[in-house]
């Protein structure tokens, strides 16, 4: 049985910068202003059968989130037809409607009903939800006194117990500690075996290949591939590679014909844009110069998404001469002691005390941190001891299955 059927689904957004106000609306109407349009999805056509699992991959802004929102019914498609047969549980709905003033018990009842269960169904599953969340003793306390881990565990427990016919999973399996993650993975597999259809949006290609054999690649709102996970991953990596070549080549400064090409690799030498905290990465760059230079310096800057520099590193003066016939090849190995977030790296070459000869545009990458209770930018490798007992949340190098 077809659970999901999408036929030429497109979603258009009108770009409207700033807060919409009455005055602006009137102004726009008076000027008959044409707003810019953006198709976040276009021509998306695929089907998903009962018991089938499909992965959706794509870089940020490829339309994955919009696809999930359209499928969950939150946002209607502008064109095309969408059919969902059966109850759909968006795991993006984890913790929806949780009210900090209400107790865990009360919140489970509301949240379960928001996710499409009847009150009786929630009550029937209540014990199982509570057992799964491991927060029995706090059920009667207001949720505002919960730790963030407890909160997520409870919320996730409700979502996973809705026993939907279609489940939408959006990169949330990094909830809680390792034990809990294992439990979630088991539960997900159980749901899979019970005949539900699952659509997983993820950056984690490893997890994807464990869950399913079929995947879609989204790029610029369109489907690039609907095929095997291997096909999808190779297409996805091609997209990243192409983009990187486009992003990485930039010209600046005095020497407009000098440029730097760069690429970011993981420990295995594969081109990557998504890393885990503590990963060792290699930045490879090649500077092609328009004339000969001596004593060049190569430098890389890691910055936050907002442009604030997190760290920079520069070489010594390089004694050999580089020029049009001899490009400069450099490799910078770095340990990403960064916590979850979006970052960018850029590189430049120059001669000490002079303007940059060439500089790249920032190349974006993301980092995922698998340690509960540690946030911010920098991994401080914390150890917490209370009354002599170690209370540090467990630390995972990556999500284990």
């Amino acid at each position: 049985m077809r659970r999901l059927e999408l036929d030429g689904v497109g979603k258009r957004f009108r770009i409207d910068s700033g807060t919409p106000t009455l005055m602006r609306r009137i102004g726009q109407a008076a000027k008959r202003a044409r707003k810019q349009e953006l198709w976040a999805l276009r021509g998306v056509t695929f089907g998903l059968d009962a018991g089938e699992t499909i992965g959706v991959i794509g870089r940020n802004g490829a339309g994955k989130t919009t696809l999930i929102r359209v499928l969950s019914g939150v946002s209607a498609p502008t064109e095309g037809t969408l059919r969902v047969r059966g109850r759909i549980a968006p795991l993006i709905g984890v913790g929806v409607g949780f009210n900090p003033e209400l107790t865990g018990r009360e919140n489970v009842l509301v949240n379960g009903q928001l996710l499409g269960l009847t009150e009786k169904q929630v009550r029937d599953r209540f014990d199982s939800i509570v057992a799964f969340s491991e927060i029995e003793s706090f059920l009667e306390s207001p949720v505002k006194y919960y730790s963030s881990g407890m909160f997520l565990r409870l919320a996730f427990a409700v979502a996973i117990h809705t026993e939907p016919e279609v489940m939408l999973v959006d990169e949330i399996l990094a909830v809680g500690d390792m034990g809990f993650q294992l439990k979630c993975n088991d539960k997900l597999r159980e749901i899979q075996q019970s005949g539900a259809s699952i659509l997983v949006v993820t950056h984690n290609l490893e997890m994807l290949s464990r869950l399913t054999a079929r995947a879609i690649v989204m790029h610029g709102g369109r489907m690039q591939v609907d095929g095997t996970v291997e096909d999808a991953i190779s297409t996805y990596q091609d997209i990243l590679q192409r983009e990187q070549e486009r992003d990485a080549v930039a010209e600046t400064g005095v020497a407009s014909s000098s440029k730097i090409a760069m690429s970011l690799h993981d420990a295995n030498g594969t081109v990557q844009r998504h890393f885990n905290t503590g990963d060792r990465v290699r930045l490879k760059l090649r500077a092609t110069l328009h004339r000969d230079y001596d004593k060049l310096v190569v430098m890389a800057v890691v910055q936050r998404a907002d442009g604030e520099a997190v760290s920079y590193v520069r070489s010594n003066d390089i004694p050999t001469t580089h020029g049009p016939d001899k490009p400069l090849d450099a490799e910078l190995d770095l340990t990403l002691n960064l916590l979850s977030g979006d970052y960018a790296i850029r590189a430049m070459v120059f001669v000490a005390g002079q303007p940059f000869i060439a500089e790249t545009l920032p190349m974006r990458f993301s980092v995922t941190n698998f340690m509960a209770g540690h946030g911010g930018i920098v991994d401080m490798a914390p150890t917490i001891t209370v009354d002599g007992a170690e209370m540090t949340p467990p630390r995972l190098s990556r999500l284990e299955g």
Binding site: F13, T19, P20, T21, L22, M23, R24, R25, A50, G51, R69, S72, G73, V74, S75, A76, P77, T78, E79, G80, T81, L82, R83, V84, R85, G86, R87, I88, P90, I92, G93, V96, G97, N99, E101, L102, E106, L109, V110, Q113, L114, L115, G116, T118, E119, P142, E163, E165, S194, G195, A196
Partner: protein
């Protein structure tokens, strides 16, 4: 699960929802609406010492203040009527209306965290605050009925039986108005301030602290005010008579039909895209 019949089906072509389907979806979401409204209510009063009593104390306190000011300072009292009871019966309606509007008219934007992640008819969102206000409003009226013998020139009479009609009419009008405004608020955020400012003026355009006959030349405008009909109906219930009840009730009815029509049409167009902008 495989053998189970399909519990629900979603079939979307285009952004709009036909009015009939919108109303069916709204009906199907009635239990969820009650759950969410109860939640809002519980959460609001849970952490305060007097809890629910606060919602009753406010209109009573307002009545006492107004009764003192207007009987002893300004003297607008009508002969043979209890001015205090007049104020209380009007205030009970107005405070229900205004508390329903104040959070109902911004409900879609304010609950974006919920509405942006799971679908249910958005039309229930602006109705939650009016539903919560309905409970306190009804309780205030019950308290007013219990206090009735304490007011001068007042006694129990048959018109009091029409009080449920006041509650119902108030709820319908508050919901219809909040729904239309809440949707407009998604597309123009300063509607929030416009409403706050209008509520201030609106209260004085409603015969709550003054009797309608004192309005003189402004009277036709005040009778055209949709809240006047509800307030006058409340006056009629408590005082046994109300000046110009029929024309103002007629105006309320016309407003109600107009607003409900606008609400259904607007939501059938925007219900499934309203949360795109949050």
């Amino acid at each position: 699960m495989t053998a189970e019949a399909v519990t629900s089906e979603l079939w979307l072509t285009g952004e709009s929802t036909p009015p009939g389907r919108l109303l069916r979806e709204l009906w199907a979401a009635r239990r969820l609406a009650v759950v969410l409204a109860r939640n809002e209510y519980l959460a609001r009063y849970r952490s305060s010492l007097l809890g629910l009593l606060w919602s009753l104390l406010v209109p009573l306190l307002q009545t006492v203040v107004l009764a003192i000011v207007f009987t002893h300072v300004v003297r607008v009292a009508a002969p043979g009527q209890s001015y205090a009871l007049y104020v209380l019966s009007g205030t009970a309606v107005w405070s229900t209306f205004s508390s329903g509007i104040s959070s109902g008219s911004t409900a879609i934007v304010d609950t974006g965290a919920i509405a942006g992640r799971v679908y249910f008819p958005r039309l229930i969102l602006p109705m939650l605050a009016p539903m919560a206000a309905l409970v306190t409003g009804a309780l205030t009226l019950v308290v007013a009925v219990l206090l009735l013998p304490a007011f001068p020139h007042s006694s129990y009479h048959v018109q009091l039986l029409a009080l449920p009609l006041v509650v119902l009419l108030n709820f319908l009008f508050t919901s219809a108005f909040a729904s239309v405004v809440a949707l407009a608020h998604v597309y123009a955020r300063d509607v929030r301030y416009l409403i706050t400012a209008s509520m201030l003026v609106w209260m004085y355009a409603t015969p709550i602290i003054y009797p309608l006959h004192l309005a003189h030349g402004l009277r036709p405008y005040i009778e055209a005010n949709p809240v006047t009909g509800i307030v006058q109906l409340s006056h009629w219930c408590f005082l046994g008579q109300a000046d110009g009840l029929e024309p103002s009730l007629l105006a309320t009815g016309a407003w109600l039909v107009g607003l409900l029509t606008i609400a259904v049409l607007a939501y059938s167009r925007y219900d499934r895209v309203a949360c795109d902008r949050l």
